[in-house]
């Protein structure tokens, strides 16, 4: 019956009217069709995306780096492995967020500042996967190890630009102020391909490093070169040593691609705090400061000069002091890097914390190895210098704890 009605109506219309209607509808539709496509998520709800204020040339390099980071998949023919952890950069940092136990790295072989004693046996990183026909690495007998969950990438450009003097100013190795917090920088050797900044501070030929769980990496170039090499098994002119054979081989990624990826990481925007007007969250922030979390998770830092004006002399809010702290025996895995002790860990930036489940399969995998499955669980795992803050947290009422957690989730 409905078919008959439609047919009748159709018969009554003259072809001219039909054609004109189709033409007008088509034009309206072509102009408006994008309105019916899924909208972009709000900037504050995602971690990836470029800094505001980039030049067109900087945006082009950001895009090239984005493609290399997120879309370039390494295969056997492109140099993957033969032993590796992941097949691309993006595999470990979905949406530029934190990784999961699936892509967690295992480092082994170093117990103190004298260096890694297992480099000849595949250290410092375990390549736990291999292409067909090859065997993956195993942890050598006698080597201690630790597992590192991949961190979020966002805001790394800001962190890279914090002047050494600012980091040193936050350190208090002898706890002169008596607050129980005695952060120290990680002094480490820097590879020769890294350009040392003029204002970098050195000590016995070693420099203040800031990236990684142990703050053992100097800058994003070193981080990127290491990740290509140790995570994917990809050599470059910066590090031509094949992780499987231990011999130098032809570069498997170009200098340009490495530089583009570094630029991409530098120009990723900083996470944007959400619900800043919410009173409960403001109260949570006050509690965060009140129970001394902010003694290590320093809310605010400043960048130094950068040729990328969007990064130059900027104030930002990472909630870290980039220093190493004694976190207690429960978090002592018996493995370390640079001058850090095995029980010392760099204060991880808390910005973006609330968006972590968005890249971790809807769950939290927190602390250095993802052992904490919630923010509250992560706080409860704090020991050593952070024990007092943990105790303070435990003394809070359930309502106040909730406010504090909500504040952390807003970051």
């Amino acid at each position: 019956m409905p078919n008959l009605t439609i047919q009748y109506m159709f018969k009554q219309l003259k072809p001219t009217y039909i054609i004109v209607s189709i033409l007008i509808s088509s034009i309206v539709f072509l102009v408006a069709c994008s309105e019916l496509e899924p909208a972009a998520p709000a900037d504050e709800d995602i971690l990836d995306g470029p800094l505001e204020g980039l030049t067109n040339a900087q945006s082009a390099q950001f895009l090239a780096g984005d493609i290399a980071f997120n879309d370039e998949i390494f295969t056997k023919d492109k140099g993957l492995g033969p032993v590796f952890v992941a097949t691309s950069c993006g595999s470990c940092h979905a949406g530029d967020g934190k990784g999961t136990p699936f892509t967690t790295l295992t480092r082994f072989g170093q117990v103190d500042h004298t260096g890694n004693k297992f480099l000849h046996l595949g250290g410092p990183q375990l390549q736990n996967r291999s292409i067909p026909g090859f065997n993956p690495e195993t942890i050598p007998t006698g080597a201690t190890f630790s597992k590192f969950t991949p961190p979020a990438n966002t805001g790394l450009g800001f962190i890279e630009l914090v002047p050494d003097s600012a980091i040193l100013a936050l350190s208090d190795p002898n706890d002169m102020n008596g607050d129980g917090i005695s952060g120290v920088p990680n002094w480490n050797t820097v590879p020769s391909y890294v350009d040392i900044l003029e204002n970098a501070i050195s000590q016995n030929g070693k420099y203040i490093c800031r990236l990684g769980k142990k703050a053992s990496t100097f800058n994003l170039l070193q981080q990127t070169v290491n990740a290509y090499n140790q995570d994917i098994g990809i050599t470059s002119t910066f590090n031509p040593i094949d992780v499987y054979s231990g011999h130098s081989i032809d570069p498997e990624v170009s200098d340009k691609t490495v530089r583009d990826v570094v630029a991409y990481l530098q120009m990723l925007k900083a996470p944007i705090q959400r619900e800043t007007e919410n009173v409960e969250i403001e109260n949570g922030k006050n509690l965060f400061i009140q129970i001394k979390c902010a003694a290590c998770h320093v809310p605010q830092l400043q960048t130094d000069f950068s040729i990328i004006s969007a990064l130059s002399y900027k104030t930002f809010y990472p909630y870290t002091d980039l220093l190493l702290h004694d976190m207690g025996s429960d978090l002592d895995d018996g493995y370390t890097e640079g001058s850090a002790k095995t029980y010392e860990w760099r204060t991880p930036p808390l910005w973006g914390l609330g968006l972590s489940p968005g890249s971790q399969g809807g769950k939290y995998f927190l602390m250095h190895d993802g052992r904490a499955k919630s923010i509250e669980e992560a706080i409860e795992m704090h020991g050593g210098e952070a024990a007092q803050s943990k105790n303070n947290f435990q003394q809070l009422s359930a309502t106040d704890k909730e406010k504090l957690i909500q504040f952390l989730k807003s970051l």
Binding site: I6, E37, P38, T75, A94, P132, Q360, G362
Partner: protein, 406 residues
């Protein structure tokens, strides 16, 4: 070789035009017999061809042209205009019981040229035919029955193209046959052909991806053997049900006599069904497939060892009448539902579900001025999860296309 075949086809087309200029009455349209009950396995011959006088050669083909405006999470490429493919058929009846048919596909403006089908069929008996050449591996139904003008949607099913490797063809030999009794029809096919390679677990899609093997033309000359079998039955009232299997070694376990790895196998099972409901003429077409692959345990779980997926098309003609001079024009409302999971299983490290899956729904309206030509207008809404099972990316947008046999 491919260039020669293309040149031959172009020459044939040119010859056809030349003949047409001389005497157009020499051209005979050989329209497919749509009234006859057929199985999917008949699709390769059940196409409109153009005969040239009394020459034993028939020509045909189809073209697909699309416009689309699709975005994912707010990012769109804008208006996209695509000549998806142009396919040329050349068929020849060599003798009463020996036929040759070829299908050459040019995609993306000629960027990709492939011989999808080129076989010599020899009939000994309706139940025993020998086929040799480049054959369509009969896994599922879409791989056999994929001509654009037959479908109401601008895009091919994702499970067929992104999981089962459609259109998937290889050089080889096989047997097929068909028989009828009352309302029942039964057909079988069994082929031994070239097959898959290491690329299916070592590719730039970062997932186990059978279509990655299509890139290598070496499969037409060497490589692993692949067994493909299918049985299908049709009842005139209940429709056609097909069950198919495809399997064999896929990896380079030995090269130049040197053992490089252990033999690794893949197995694909598929089930397909189609019917037209009496009175209301609703057409239902569906296909579902399961894939099992021996992926080395030391390799990354990024590459799954189990996959599954399929599609369901529902097409409802809403009216059929004379429109703008076309006598039996038909307007259809349709909907396609699709699901693909490229990595079925859980992570070793956490026991959590591995994602890498996709849902899609695609309502459509299509206009068929003749049975050989279709104008189609689709909207796609798609949710796709990454391997970590994070919140899905949302894709949506419109497409319009014309597809026609010629």
């Amino acid at each position: 070789m491919i260039k020669k075949i293309v040149l031959f086809c172009i020459a044939c087309m040119y010859a056809q035009l030349t003949f047409a200029q001389i005497d157009s009455t020499l051209l005979n349209n050989v329209i497919a017999d749509t009234g006859k009950q057929t199985l999917n396995m008949d699709a390769v011959y059940n196409r409109p061809f153009l005969g040239i006088g009394k020459l034993p050669v028939s020509l045909g083909g189809y073209a697909e042209v699309n416009w689309q405006h699709i975005g994912t999470d707010g990012v769109s490429e804008g208006h996209q205009f695509q000549m998806r493919r142009m396919t040329l058929f050349v068929a020849s009846t060599i003798s009463k019981k020996i036929k040759f048919l070829s299908e050459i596909e040019l995609e993306e403006g000629g960027k990709e040229i492939s011989v999808e089908f080129a076989s010599i069929d020899v009939e000994f008996h309706p139940l025993l035919n020998l086929r040799g050449g480049i054959v369509m591996n009969p896994i599922g139904s879409f791989n056999q029955n994929h001509d654009g003008p037959r479908w109401e949607f601008t895009d091919r099913p994702i499970s067929a193209t992104q999981m089962l490797a459609a259109t998937w063809s290889n050089a080889g030999f096989g047997l097929f046959g068909k028989t009828y009794k009352n309302n029942w029809m039964f057909g079988y096919e069994a082929y031994l052909t070239g097959g898959f390679n290491d690329d299916i677990i070592d590719n730039e899609m970062n997932k186990t991806f059978l279509p990655a093997a299509k890139v290598s033309a070496e499969r037409f000359e060497e490589g692993n053997a692949l067994l493909t079998t299918k049985i299908a039955t049709r009842h005139s009232k209940f429709g056609e049900l097909g069950l198919s299997y495809m399997g064999g070694n896929y990896n380079t376990y030995k090269n130049d006599g040197i053992v490089l790895d252990e033999k690794r196998q893949l197995h694909v099972f598929a089930m397909d069904y189609n019917t037209t409901l009496p009175k209301i003429n609703t057409t239902i077409t569906g296909e579902w497939a399961w894939i099992n692959i021996d992926v080395p345990s030391s390799f990354t779980q990024q590459y799954g060892n189990k996959q599954r997926g399929g599609f369901l098309d529902i097409v409802q003609p809403i009216f059929k009448r004379k429109i703008l001079g076309w006598d039996k024009a038909v307007v259809n409302l349709s909907c396609r539902l699709e699901y693909v999971d490229w990595n079925v299983g859980t992570f070793n490290e956490t026991g959590d579900n591995i994602g890498d899956n996709l849902w899609s729904v695609m309502p459509a309206i299509s206009f068929r001025p003749t049975a050989q030509t279709v104008f189609r207008f689709n909207y796609r809404y798609q949710l796709q999860k990454d391997v970590l099972d994070n919140d899905p990316s949302k894709t949506g947008g419109f497409s319009f296309g014309i597809s026609s046999y010629f």
